[in-house]
């Protein structure tokens, strides 16, 4: 009885222990919104390491890199997102990639990008 029981429930037990990229991804988004720049890289990279196909993650990291002036790396991240999620990756990525939606896309650093008036 013990073995079938364990076999039947092991996927549930393992699922409970599974490491997911989401805590790091959330931390990276929060860090980006706080305007901390380079500090955020480690959370983005950790999330990518755990879940390289996590939806939205490469688009997120791409935007972050773009705003740091790392355009070539950003474009690579956008390309990965599009390859991972064809038909889903938002149109807005192209707008950013073309540089029409950010000063940073042309190499300038927009330090005030996350400064929003308190609401």
């Amino acid at each position: 009885m013990k073995r079938p029981f364990l076999l039947a429930f092991s996927p549930l037990i393992l699922a409970g222990c599974a490491v997911t990229p989401w805590p790091h991804y959330e931390a990276a988004v929060r860090c980006h919104m706080d305007g901390k720049k380079q500090e955020c890289d480690q959370d983005y990279l950790k999330a990518i390491e755990i879940g390289p196909k996590t939806q939205g993650l490469h688009a997120s990291y791409g935007v972050h890199l773009l705003l740091e002036g790392r355009r070539d790396e950003a474009l690579k991240e956008f390309a990965i997102e599009k390859a991972n999620y064809p038909g889903f990756a938002p149109k807005g990525i192209d707008q950013l990639a073309l540089g029409s939606a950010t000063g940073a896309a042309s190499g300038t650093d927009s330090a005030s990008r996350t400064e929003r008036s308190p609401r």
Binding site: Y25, K53, A59, V63, Y85, G92, Q95, L96, A101, R116
Partner: protein
């Protein structure tokens, strides 16, 4: 033994389904079956000033983990900023078709933060976080799902007798971590949306 097996394997799905939250989408949800969603920055109707930064990342993450392709907050915020549309209140009033045009999404999630407070009453403190949310079809603006919930949770104030409880409650009220309560509230609310089919993580 056979009876036990029957109970264990036959009864568990029944028990689990009894715990499952009720799905409360509109009939249009089934018809339109959205797969990609733009989570708009939450509109803050409370007195707290840092609600957007605290709540936006997990609203996005919880919906994505529910199986929907959610547009990343960084991308959304950057495009809104480029279009000088950063105020969540104004964004919530825009016709949804605009978001379909810019982001190519199937649906738009509007969120209002209605409660973000802690109450401290003598020896106990409570954290209250409330959201009003609605999911709309991006092309037509048709309502697909709507929910409104306030979650109240008391941080653990135990230990140290009466004085300890008083100090604990005061400390909890002063350094209240709202995020876990808000995250749980969002998770509970999204549990009433059918599980999406977008593969969220394939490590």
């Amino acid at each position: 033994m056979n009876g036990f097996r029957l109970l264990a394997f036959g009864g568990i799905p029944l028990l689990l389904s009894a715990c499952a939250p009720e799905i409360c989408t509109t009939s249009d949800f089934e018809r339109l079956k959205p797969r990609s969603v733009l989570v708009l920055p939450p509109e803050n109707t409370t007195a707290n000033t840092d609600v957007l930064e605290k709540s936006y990342p997990f609203l996005f993450s919880e919906l994505a983990q529910r199986g929907y392709y959610a547009v990343s907050p960084e991308l959304a915020l950057q495009l809104f900023q480029a279009n000088k549309m950063e105020d969540p209140g104004r964004l919530n009033k825009l016709p949804t078709g605009k978001f379909n045009e810019v982001f190519g999404v199937d649906a738009v999630l509007r969120t209002k933060v209605t409660e973000w407070s802690s109450k401290y009453i003598v020896v106990s403190s409570t954290v209250n976080v409330g959201f009003d949310m609605e999911l709309l079809d991006a092309r037509t603006g048709t309502l697909l799902w709507k929910d409104s919930k306030v979650l109240s949770q008391a941080p653990n104030n135990s230990g140290g007798g009466l004085v300890g409880a008083l100090v604990g409650a005061a400390l909890n009220a002063a350094v209240t971590p709202y995020e876990p309560v808000a995250d749980q509230n969002a998770k509970n609310m999204f549990a009433t949306i059918p599980q999406g089919s977008v593969n969220v993580v394939t490590p």
